[in-house]
Amino acid sequence: MQLSSYPSIRTLICVWLLLIVLSAGTLFTGGVTTSETIGIWGGTALFAITFFKTKLILNYYLDLKSAAGNWNTLFSSLIFLILLILFGLYSVSVFS
């Protein structure tokens, strides 16, 4: 079990603030108060923000950035692949 370099409280709070701001960005981009479709650019922004948020959680909350080997790349790639498939399907629905 690795327990060598966990982020400081200051870093964790900065990450949390960023996550809150990005979550507000998700609401804004996702048109939370309207029922209109968000379009391809809104969808692109939404998936990009979501990936960035998952990276913050992986890197800092789960401390994967300090993991030895390629674990960070592996888990990030898994999430990226899931989001890419979802984005691809969303794009098909927008253009069909």
């Binding site: 079990m1 998700t26 789960l62 674990w71």
Partner: protein, 190 residues
């Protein structure tokens, strides 16, 4: 005593490079795949019945979903701070922050229940249509993870070895991670 004492006890090969118990990371990977498949299934059905999905999605409370995202990332912060204090062998603060994380997890469930109650009061159930079947399936399955996670946080707060606290917090962050993906896919993408 070294804070990396458990390195000498368990040798998981390449998996030893991961923070916490490697079994938890296998669980995190498998849960991501399971939920990923659920979300892909949901999006495929969206492609088949776009009108129905958009009309049904507009009946969801997007603000409540967004609020719950903020609630869960705040709870994740508490769990992360608990791990920080565990490293410093500060048992009291570790337990307090784990308890705080669990308590905020309860707030998540309360908001989720209010959402469900509103749907039920409008006679919207999993049988209403395919959208709501997937909505209740995905969010209900996630809520079950939240309930389990709260109990896990309480247990690792009680039996607070380094490995237990890091592993319990890792499960909680996984719950957080899945919601961060679930929210835009189910509530927002249209």
């Amino acid at each position: 005593m070294s804070t990396i004492e458990n390195n000498e006890v368990d040798d998981w090969g390449p998996l030893s490079g991961l923070p916490g118990n490697p079994i938890m990371w296998l669980l995190i990977a498998s849960e991501l795949i399971v939920f990923g498949v659920l979300f892909i299934g949901f999006t495929l059905l969206h492609l088949n019945e776009p009108e129905l999905f958009i009309q049904s999605q507009n009946q969801l409370d997007r603000l409540a979903g967004g609020l719950n995202t903020m609630v869960l990332v705040t709870s994740g912060l508490c769990a992360a701070i608990a791990v920080h204090y565990q490293r410093q062998k500060n048992t009291l603060k570790t337990r307090l922050w784990l308890f705080g994380a669990g308590l905020i997890g309860v707030i998540f469930l309360v908001i989720k229940w209010i959402e469900y109650a509103d749907k039920f009061s409008h006679n919207i159930t999993p049988d209403t249509n395919s959208f709501f079947m997937w909505y209740f399936l995905c969010t209900g399955f996630h809520a079950m993870h939240v309930i389990f996670g709260i109990f896990l946080l309480l247990i690792v707060g009680w039996k607070n070895s380094d490995e237990n606290v890091i592993t319990g917090a890792a499960f909680w962050h996984m719950v957080d991670l899945i919601w961060v993906i679930l929210f835009p896919v189910i509530y927002l993408i249209r």
